[in-house]
């Protein structure tokens, strides 16, 4: 399970970033203005959860990065290494989310500062994708990982927020106005993530011998099919159904469970099937 810590670090941190991103985006809706107290209180719950989740993901990442006392050295590579930027931006995001949660005790969360936090988070997801866009992995060399990681961020963030609508009092207060739109946003993001996953495998299948090998390894794995069916198609169908339902129920949490599990499976597959250039093929 060599890739497990990296898989969990990337997916969990993207989930945390996505949660703040989608909550921030919903701030432009009319319901956020009319129910500002519920929106802000839900925001505090999200900021605390995201900060802790990102912190947890960073703790998990220490298994493969610095184990653990050497990890602060990653700051030395900021001039040239995407990995350094990934760690720094993820760390700033975690601390920023917790700081904003703390500052929000007054009942007011600055839209501008939370917007900056979203930018930092997206920067972390972008740099995370860039780390794996390396010429020695021909299938990844075109920058596809950036798109895959950003799509996961959006999709997982949207379904997690939808789950919070069903299980928190503030979410329930906001749900009547926002849940339908959020379900549609989550559906679109899930379909986008699925299309990118298929596009990635398809592009690799028409690439260099190493890329073709990677595509075969990916698509022949049982995890690939399980993720497509249970981790993308099923949540998409559920989201389509939820978009038409005016009432929130515990069913709202199911797409989140399925999609997060699917993204973890997909990310594990992404890492474990990477095929590198090698002497002699």
């Amino acid at each position: 399970m060599e890739w497990l810590s990296l898989t969990l670090f990337t997916v969990l941190s993207e989930a945390a970033i996505g949660l703040v991103l989608v909550w921030w985006l919903l701030g432009f809706s009319g319901a956020a203005v009319t129910k500002v107290t519920a929106y802000t209180r839900l925001g505090r719950t999200i900021l605390l959860s995201s900060g802790l989740l990102t912190g947890l993901s960073m703790l998990i990442s220490l298994e493969h990065l610095g184990w653990p006392f050497s990890s602060p050295r990653v700051l030395m590579g900021l001039g040239h290494s995407w990995l350094s930027w990934e760690v720094v931006l993820t760390g700033i995001f975690a601390v920023g989310a917790l700081a904003l949660w703390w500052l929000g005790r007054s009942g007011n969360i600055s839209r501008m500062i939370s917007g900056l936090l979203v930018l930092v988070g997206l920067g972390a997801a972008f740099t995370s994708g860039m780390v794996w866009s390396m010429p020695s992995v021909p299938a990844n060399a075109g920058g596809f990982p950036v798109l895959l990681f950003l799509a996961t961020t959006l999709a997982v963030g949207a379904v997690l927020l939808l789950a919070l609508f069903a299980f928190t009092a503030d979410g329930k207060a906001l749900a009547p106005e926002m849940a339908g739109a959020l379900s549609l946003l989550a559906l679109g993001a899930t379909l986008l993530a699925g299309a990118l996953a298929l596009g990635f495998a398809g592009a690799a299948a028409h690439g260099s011998p190493e890329a073709r090998h990677q595509a075969t390894a990916m698509t022949s794995s049982g995890l690939h099919m399980a993720r497509l069916l249970a981790g993308l198609l099923l949540p998409a169908a559920l989201l389509g159904y939820l978009a038409r339902q005016p009432k929130r129920s515990a069913l709202s949490a199911l797409p989140a469970v399925l999609l997060v599990a699917g993204e973890i499976a997909g990310r594990f597959l992404f890492f474990s099937t990477m095929t590198f250039t090698a002497v002699g093929g």
């Binding site: 990653v74 290494s81 990995l83 390396m134 020695s136 590198f276 250039t277 090698a278 002497v279």
Partner: protein, 187 residues
């Protein structure tokens, strides 16, 4: 091309695949069983003599080393003589260098949880000695060369089966194998 760029010249026509170079490197640095800075591969891509051609490859001390680009702790530096060295103390074991190098030169040690690679025996060079692999080759198939002045009519930048040289511009030259002649006794 810088004023000096040390690298290897592998004459595949002379190489017999004995792995003396690989073992000499391993002995010189007391590498663990699973870590080989130099590796000898059977050369199956368009061989002149099937089953008799080999590629001997270590770190290629590239002009644009990917290991140095991706390393988050700046453990890799390129010296004025072109050798890419690694500060082993800085390594935090993220393995990114082992994945980013198109030639798989950097190797990860599960025991030490760090990566390491060939440094062209820089300490031996300081003593006017050849690198251990070069000194050990019984066929003289492996040579240390300065690519700034190296000129051989038979040497090429790449051979089939060697990853794209345009990624990092590796400091290695090959002399491809020449097809052997077959002599038959008249019936």
């Amino acid at each position: 091309m810088p004023n000096k760029q040390l690298g290897f010249h592998h004459n595949m026509d002379l190489c017999i695949g004995c792995k003396a170079c690989q073992m000499a490197c391993k002995n010189e640095y007391e590498l663990e069983a699973e870590v080989n800075w130099r590796r000898v591969y059977p050369y199956r891509e368009n061989p002149a003599n099937p089953e008799r051609n080999f590629l001997s490859v270590a770190c290629n001390h590239c002009e644009n080393p990917e290991c140095a680009r991706v390393c988050p702790v700046g453990a890799y530096t390129k010296r004025e003589d072109g050798i890419v060295v690694q500060n082993h103390e800085k390594c935090i074991g993220c393995r990114l260098c082992t994945m980013a190098c198109p030639y798989g030169a950097a190797r990860y040690s599960p025991k030490h949880r760090k990566a390491s690679k060939c440094e062209l025996c820089k300490d031996r060079l300081d003593q006017n000695l050849d690198p251990a692999c070069v000194a050990a080759c019984p066929m003289g198939a492996l040579k240390l060369v300065d690519l700034a002045t190296f000129d051989s009519p038979t040497a090429v930048r790449s051979v089939p089966g060697f990853p794209d040289s345009d990624i990092t511009n590796p400091s290695i030259r090959f002399t491809p194998p020449v097809a052997g002649r077959q002599y038959r006794r008249d019936a």
